[in-house]
């Protein structure tokens, strides 16, 4: 279920003590350990012996086939339909939505959407917003996490507590005051409305990222930092050449969260980017839906879904790990 996410509180709240190791799959090891006793490669609810029973085994296989069929229909069915419909004429989609290309493939939709409806521009905006939000989130989470976990100033715990306490504040509360803050920001004094900064900077105030980064840095061996310091590396050198290279897994998780959340975000960019030329796909599509033809709209939807779906297929493991992490507590 979608919630509002005006930047700062995009991730679901997380317990103060999440699993210390963000790497998943405690089962693997356990399974392998049991591997010798059980040639089937470990067990779940149903034992390997039962799997070989004719009735139980068949029922189990049937249930799995049914599940797979259901998942295919629900999981990938709508997307395949979307691709099909974006290559069909409006008439075909309206008259018989389930038929396969009754009057041929209409490749022109994609080109029309890309050039005439200017999906290219909104696509570039989405990309700029996502990349910028991602960079800001990485900078805030890594520098802050490094200072809190490794440099450990005396006021660190208070600051960390202040950061974590924002996890308790639901995104709704921030909507209006954050909007007014962006209109008239302290320190800067110039309205950020209709600039990408209005999306980039608030995205950085994500306590979940700081929590993930600090937890990860806390668990890195301190001797490594000590050794680097003795070798004459200053705090900046330690950060850049020691800490960051050791932190690839957690940087991957934060990046996936950050990029995808920014690509999906709707309400916040809708509020702060009023100039259509600056709006990302998510904001522009509902407006376009009212004015352009259905086949072109569906082609535009296909293009918009392309990047996140492709990212997911490439970085599946990181995605699923992040998904498990946002709810994982006791494993």
């Amino acid at each position: 279920v979608t919630t509002v996410s005006p930047g700062p509180v995009t991730a679901p709240p997380v317990p103060p003590a999440p699993p210390t190791d963000p790497a998943p799959a405690p089962r693997r090891g356990r399974r392998r350990r049991r591997g010798g006793a059980d040639p089937g490669g470990g067990r779940g609810i149903v034992s390997s012996a039962e799997r070989r029973l004719p009735v139980t085994g068949t029922l189990l296989r049937l249930s799995h086939a049914g599940l797979l069929a259901g998942l295919l229909v629900v999981g990938i069915g709508p997307l395949l339909w979307l691709v099909k419909a974006s290559l069909s004429t409006t008439q075909d989609t309206l008259r018989d939505p389930m038929a396969l290309f009754p009057s041929g493939v209409d490749w022109a939709n994609l080109a029309t959407a890309w050039t005439e409806v200017h999906i290219d521009r909104y696509f570039a905006n989405s990309m700029a917003l996502a990349v910028g939000s991602w960079l800001v989130q990485l900078v805030v989470a890594t520098t802050g996490g490094y200072a809190l976990a490794v440099l450990r100033p005396r006021y660190g715990p208070v600051l960390y507590w202040l950061v974590l306490s924002t996890l308790f504040v639901p995104a709704v509360v921030l909507l209006v005051p954050l909007y007014l803050t962006v209109i008239d920001p302290p320190l800067i004094g110039v309205s950020m409305i209709d600039t990408f900064w209005a999306v980039w900077l608030p995205a950085g105030a994500n306590a979940f990222n700081v929590l993930l980064a600090k937890r990860f840095f806390d668990n890195l061996p301190r001797e490594v930092f000590e050794a680097a310091r003795i070798d004459g590396a200053g705090p900046f050198r330690v950060f850049w050449s020691v800490l960051l290279p050791m932190s690839r897994p957690i940087l991957g998780v934060i990046s996936v969260f950050a990029f995808v959340a920014a690509w999906k975000d709707f309400l916040w960019p809708l509020l702060v980017l009023r100039d259509p030329d600056l709006q990302p796909l998510s904001v522009r599509l509902p407006t376009l839906a009212r004015s352009i033809e259905l086949d072109v709209l569906l082609a535009a939807l296909t293009i918009s879904a392309l990047i996140p779906v492709a990212l997911f297929l490439v970085f599946q493991r990181t995605f699923l790990r992040s998904a498990g992490l946002s709810g994982a507590l006791k494993g």
Binding site: P26, G42, V169
Partner: protein
């Protein structure tokens, strides 16, 4: 001062600067401001004036408030009915899959990565109320009469929930799967030795082992559904006949629907009330997770 710099105090501050500035300006300050604004009359032109409880009175006097709260509760309830058992059953079945389990989880999670706006606009086409509409065509195959879906006050809300569940269930499945995978196999061995059937093992081993995660997803889901905005905003705009106006839609309308610069006071007052409710829920969530991680 000089020793402080030499000990690295200054560089520590430099490293904390991005965090302090970003959180200060875009998180801590707006949070404080929300509390202050709820007792002020704020507009973009004149200085804010203290008005006491007036904003809260405005909200309570709004006849739409009851409707919005009721609709949000209905949404949350139907979402629980749809979205709570199905991922659990799917995850339990999936945990027994030996080959290509990755394929199963990828398929289950795919809808979650589809951008919500794309999903809603696509489902709007699915919900075409004509008999030729996609869902009505499929219903026709099994002999069910065409439905009005988003066009009728009776079916609009369940339609929103159906899409929202499709979009979110995959995440819940993955959370359950992670928990299922951590159930010690020894427990199943022991239950089997004690003569428990497969169903018996599900009831007496699997479900009790998942108790913690089940409660957490329950609370997370309620927190999420109480803030539902995108579906009613894009599918129906609150209609037909306000049957899908939710609390968040009301907040949005207070603050942003008027071109004159809206009633920011009423909007923050209502968001604060919702926030207190959600904070109670998340406090419960934190207490539960803490007691589990120590047990």
């Amino acid at each position: 001062m000089l020793t402080w710099i030499r000990r690295g105090g200054l560089s520590t501050l430099l490293f904390l600067l991005p965090l302090v500035v970003v959180f200060g300006v875009f998180s801590w300050w707006p949070i404080v401001r929300a509390a202050v604004m709820s007792v002020q009359r704020t507009n973009l032109v004149t200085a804010p004036v203290f008005v006491g409880w007036e904003n809260f009175e405005t909200v309570f006097a709004d006849p739409l408030l009851g409707t919005a709260v009721r609709n949000t509760a209905v949404f949350a309830l139907i979402a629980l009915v749809f979205g709570y058992p199905i991922p659990l059953v799917a995850a339990v079945l999936m945990s027994e899959v030996r080959r290509w389990r990755g394929l199963y989880s990828a398929l289950a999670y795919l809808p979650v990565v589809v951008p919500p706006v794309v999903a809603v606009l696509m489902w709007k086409v699915f919900y075409d109320p004509r008999p030729e509409g996609l869902f009505n065509t499929v219903l026709g195959w099994v002999g069910i009469a065409p439905q009005a879906w988003l066009q009728s006050a009776d079916t609009a809300m369940p339609s929103l929930v159906l899409e929202a569940t499709w979009a979110a269930a995959g995440g819940t499945v993955i959370i359950y799967l992670a928990a299922l995978v951590a159930v010690p196999p020894e427990l199943y061995d022991a239950a089997e030795v004690d003569g428990a059937s497969i169903w018996g093992r599900v009831r007496h081993v699997t479900l009790p082992q998942l108790r913690g995660v089940l409660l957490v997803t329950l609370i997370l889901q309620i927190i999420g559904t109480s803030q539902v905005f995108l579906e009613p905003f894009l599918f129906t705009g609150g209609g037909p006949a306000n049957s899908t106006t939710t609390v968040l839609l009301l907040i949005y309308d207070y603050a942003f629907s008027s071109s004159l610069g809206g009633d920011y006071g009423a909007a923050t007052a209502l968001s604060l009330m919702l926030a207190v409710f959600l904070a109670l829920l998340s406090a419960l969530y934190f207490r539960l997770t803490r007691s589990w991680s120590t047990s």
